[in-house]
């Protein structure tokens, strides 16, 4: 469903993506682990097209999309959430979700009707709000809600385009354990045919949702396989300096 072949990227002298080849099957749930600065976010940016790789290619549903701009890849069913909230701050939660749903339903450029009032848009907004526990916050402006709520909305906006492939960049970063547990339930309730690629620091969460695990270190794939095998890997122990045993 989503594949990279020999992806390579440098920022000046810093080599942030080294020959990364990944392959996700339809419906696969893969977690990317790796220390800060390993190049996880940079990899996401190349997958969605916000960054152009120096060499290598990105394939979506069998087609080479390396040359496609961000919006075109998104319209082919690729969606992402950001590590740092990237929302429409002055607008309400409902409008945030509605803007995303409108793009998906094709009413985002119509001049003769209000996209946010369309029944198919409202339906998606309500469904997603339910999924990410935002039903009580729909009328609140993003600038008025707590960080945790914004974090949920960050994922909600990505879900409201009804993607086939969803990339989530540290969805639980900065939220308390209780809310992280909520995300965990959310992930497990997503449709099984949705392909998921998640960057995650929380080990429990990672091992709970992952079908497969990829570990990045210094821009390089140092492990790629099943969670059980990852647990035993000595290389991982080294990278995570023992925080492993707790997992």
């Amino acid at each position: 469903m989503l594949e990279t072949r020999n992806l390579d990227k440098s920022f000046g002298a810093v080599h942030v993506t080294r020959d990364v080849s990944l392959k996700l099957e339809r419906g696969e749930r893969r977690v990317i682990l790796g220390p800060n600065g390993a190049g996880k976010t940079t990899l996401f940016n190349q997958l969605v097209g916000e960054l152009t790789p120096d060499s290598g290619s990105v394939h979506l549903a069998g087609a080479d999309v390396t040359a496609l701009p961000v919006a075109k890849r998104a319209r082919r069913g690729l969606s992402r959430s950001y590590q740092k909230n990237t929302l429409f701050d002055g607008l309400t939660v409902e409008e945030n979700l509605g803007l995303a749903a409108a793009v998906h339903t094709g009413s985002a450029t119509q001049l003769w009707s209000d996209s946010l009032a369309k029944p198919e848009v409202r339906e998606i907004v309500e469904e997603v709000a339910e999924q990410v526990n935002l039903t009580d916050f729909l009328q609140a402006r993003v600038s008025e809600v707590s960080y945790g709520v914004r974090r949920q909305l960050e994922v909600g906006v990505a879900l409201a385009t009804r993607p086939h492939v969803l990339l989530m960049d540290e969805p639980t970063s900065g939220v308390g354990p209780e809310m992280a547990k909520g995300f965990h339930d959310l992930l497990n309730n997503l449709p099984r045919d949705l392909t998921l690629l998640i960057i995650e620091h929380d080990m429990d969460l990672a091992f709970d949702v992952a079908d497969t695990i990829t570990v990045l270190n210094y821009g390089e794939v140092v492990f790629d396989g099943l969670p059980e095998a990852a647990r035993g890997s000595s290389l991982l122990k080294e990278i995570y300096l023992g925080s492993w045993e707790d997992a």
């Binding site: 992402r80 929302l87 803007l99 793009v103 985002a108 450029t109 001049l111 906006v157």
Partner: protein
């Protein structure tokens, strides 16, 4: 995102009532000033859609207005098209020009966007100034007004023409609200708040910007057609960048991104200009000081002040209600 609220409706109704009263009772000079305000109001509505709601701060809206005026003048006076056809063609042409400018400038932001639009405006200005068909420095005269004798209206009468401009302004305001409340307008709000995210959601951002800029340019062109019909004579000065600058001043003075504010700004600006220029040739200085005061006060223009006062009143009323409630409680406790 555009939201109509009680305050906006109130101010809008007051403005409409004042304009209507003026149109029905004013003498010749009053009607001239009113018409000038109404045409400027159409231009600044166009600019507010692009700049206030889309972050596209344009310095070519004066030139677009000029394109509309010249297109109408040439097509009706020289090519012999009937005024309604010439008007429709002028609007289509201005809209098309604006769409192309919007599409080309869509990738640039902030100061670069301003400079790019300025460059397009200056190109149009120098072309009109130099091409002989446009009459160069002398401009073009003999421009006819629309013929509405079918419905018994003679637009050559200045009262009728002022009322006509008021009706057009009303229609343009309605159209602006519809644009801002359409799917396109909603997406524009998304782009204004977070362009990167809109793109990541799958929106072709440049298309949205170009479409909105095209519509905005068409409205500016309509202001140009009315200006040409009003004075019945046009000169290249209409396309000068200072016209765009003045429009921007009016939008900021009135309240960027409020739609109603720029209408207030247009009235304030034209009235100030006429009152002050009778007193002193340095009226620009006074307008400058007022603009600085508005910008420094950190309110969003005159409409921002009105909003703050209104909000203050509502707060005071709420506080009073709470006080009353408390007194009641104290009394009932006792």
């Amino acid at each position: 995102m555009f939201r109509h609220n009680a305050l906006r409706c109130t101010v809008l109704l007051l403005l409409a009532a004042a304009a209507l009263f003026q149109a029905l009772t004013a003498g010749y000079f009053g009607l001239e000033i009113l018409t000038e305000i109404l045409i400027l109001a159409i231009l600044v509505l166009a600019l507010d859609i692009a700049a206030g709601f889309g972050g596209m701060v344009s310095l070519c809206h004066g030139a677009l207005m000029g394109v509309g005026a010249y297109a109408y003048a040439i097509l009706s006076a020289k090519a012999g098209l009937s005024p309604p056809v010439a008007m429709a063609a002028a609007l289509a042409l201005t809209g098309g020009c604006a769409w192309v400018i919007g599409a080309i400038c869509a990738r640039s932001h902030g100061i670069y966007f301003i400079m790019a639009t300025l460059a397009f405006g200056q190109m149009a200005y120098s072309y009109v100034f130099e091409a002989p068909v446009f009459g160069g420095d002398d401009g073009l005269g003999g421009i006819a007004r629309l013929d509405l004798s079918l419905i018994g209206v003679d637009l050559n009468d200045s009262r009728s023409f002022a009322l006509f401009c008021l009706a057009v302004l009303g229609a343009v305001y309605g159209a602006s609200v519809l644009i801002l409340r359409s799917g396109l307008g909603r997406s524009l709000a998304g782009v204004m708040h977070n362009e990167q995210r809109m793109r990541a959601l799958g929106l072709t951002v440049w298309r949205v910007k170009a479409d909105v800029f095209g519509l905005s340019g068409m409205i500016a062109g309509l202001a140009g057609v009315l200006a040409a019909q009003h004075v019945m004579y046009i000169s290249p000065g209409l396309l000068s960048w200072t016209v765009s600058g003045e429009a921007l001043v009016v939008v900021i003075l009135g309240g960027l991104g409020t739609l109603v504010g720029p209408l207030v700004g247009a009235a304030a600006f034209v009235l100030l200009k006429h009152e002050l220029s009778a007193l002193t040739p340095h009226w620009h200085l006074v307008v400058g000081v007022i603009l600085i005061a508005v910008v420094m006060s950190r309110a969003n223009g005159i409409f921002g002040w009105i909003e703050a006062c209104w909000g203050g009143r509502a707060e005071r009323r709420a506080a009073k209600a709470v006080r009353k409630q408390k007194t009641k409680e104290v009394l009932s406790d006792a």
